[in-house]
Amino acid sequence: MGVRTWIEGWPVYRQLTGTDPLGRGAAAQSERSKGLTARTETADRVAKSVCPYCAVGCGQRIFVKDEKIVQIEGDPDSPVSRGRLCPKGSASLSLVTSDRRQQHVLYRRPYGTEWERLDLETAMDMIADRVLAARDATWQDRDDRQRPLNRTLGISSLGGATLDNEENYLIKKLFTAIGAIQIENQARI
């Protein structure tokens, strides 16, 4: 930094020589303030999305920089919401990026008193084994009049209203195919 630049960067110099003799405006503006720009403008990309809370279906724009979400705000194009969000929708950024979010599989063994870490693949294998064991132990082929039942009442599932249609489709398809019928979601509540 040369001496001249240094002096021009000095607010009092700017104040005394510029258009802002009281030094409350242009002369007082710091380099940082001068360089401020909205982080939505410098994002690498914008994903068009939908608010995950209630079923009004407000449009969201998700701004991504360096593979991190830097802002979530309302989509003004949406004829449903016209860019607006409620406090929950406005908190979507925290919802997704909070450091309280769990990022690891946790396992509590029978009669255990604490969580343990578990490898994702191991957990998937264990769950598949347990589904099949529960199904075998509770399988019902036919009713008392020999009509088909083809089912298990040993497995339950609750949830789906917060998930995607594609996910609900696979959940119902898989459970139906293995004979698990006790599949429910918030629509019953």
């Binding site: 802002d20 009281l22 405006g25 979530i72 406090p87 929708g89």
Partner: protein, 284 residues
């Protein structure tokens, strides 16, 4: 120079901006506020403002208590019981005279901003949009501004020590975007735009409400003749300002500063020099 500290004024040109853009502001119409607090959350998400603590205050649905270093928008809730405590369900009774008023409060971005006038470091400055912004890289936490605000808005953050308040999303509006609170507001209770346009819209809104029989509608902070030269963020209220916790007749605390300067001009210059030193001290 006296004119720069009191009375009607376009603050950005006065603060040295040649060809300043139109003065921008907030018009907060409390007659359509639903108290959802989207403004509080949207503000915090955008500006990464810390939470204000988890305390049930019991002030109706207000649990953040007021504007502070950690709440740059604040929604006040006022339950106004009817005067007569008779049962409502009583046969033949008239309609309830009960109101639940809600108002999203914010920094007023005064035409004559006491906080700015007293700031010794140049941390508070007037932007080209006529708004008043604390520069976090300049503020040294002296706290003079806190006492100078006639609305009690600006506040020092515990642990950090610096002063914080609404910037009207200076980074957003510089890029032509709407401030986060106004963008989120579901009912357009918070409107952002050119102050002159907002003032016209506000006058029409009051007239419409009066025509509909809402006699209590009135504007607050819109007049250039008031004690702060008019607010950059003004309001439509449905009751007296005091009901919402607003001062009825705010006056810029530096109104008499010019007189003081005449008496102590040299001291002022010395102060300016020390300001610059403080400024440089923070710059690294």
């Amino acid at each position: 120079m006296a004119n720069s500290l009191y009375g009607p004024l376009d603050p950005a040109p006065d603060a040295g901006y040649v060809d300043a853009p139109p003065r921008m502001g907030f018009f907060t119409d409390t007659s359509v506020c639903i108290g959802c607090k989207a403004c509080e959350v949207a503000c915090k998400e955008w500006n990464a403002v810390p939470d204000d603590g988890f305390d049930l205050l019991g002030q109706s649905y207000d649990n953040t208590g007021g504007l502070s270093a950690n709440s740059w928008r604040h929604v006040a809730f006022i339950e106004q019981p009817r005067p007569d405590p008779v049962f409502l369900g009583m046969p033949g009774q008239d309609k309830p005279d009960f109101r639940w008023l809600m108002m999203s409060n914010v920094c007023k971005h005064c035409t004559h901003a006491g906080c700015l006038d007293v700031c010794p470091t140049g941390a508070l400055f007037r932007t080209e949009f006529g708004t008043v912004v604390v520069q976090e890289d300049v503020c040294n936490g002296c706290g003079y501004c806190v006492a100078a605000c006639p609305y009690g808005v600006i506040d020092r953050r515990e642990g950090d020590g610096r002063a914080w308040k609404c910037t009207m999303c200076y980074d957003r509006i510089g890029d032509g975007l709407t401030p986060a609170c106004a963008q989120a507001c579901p009912t357009e209770s918070i409107q952002y735009g050119e102050l002159d346009v907002l003032r016209e819209a506000a006058a029409e809104r009051v007239a419409k409400l009066h025509a509909e029989g809402v006699e209590s509608a009135r504007l607050y902070g819109h007049s250039e003749e008031d004690g702060v030269g008019g607010d950059g963020a003004f309001f439509l209220l449905l009751d007296e300002p005091e009901v919402y916790g607003l001062p009825p007749d705010p006056v810029v605390t530096t109104k008499d500063l010019p007189d003081m300067w005449k008496r102590a001009g040299l001291a002022a210059l010395t102060m300016a020099a020390s300001v610059a030193v403080a400024f440089l001290g923070r710059r690294r």
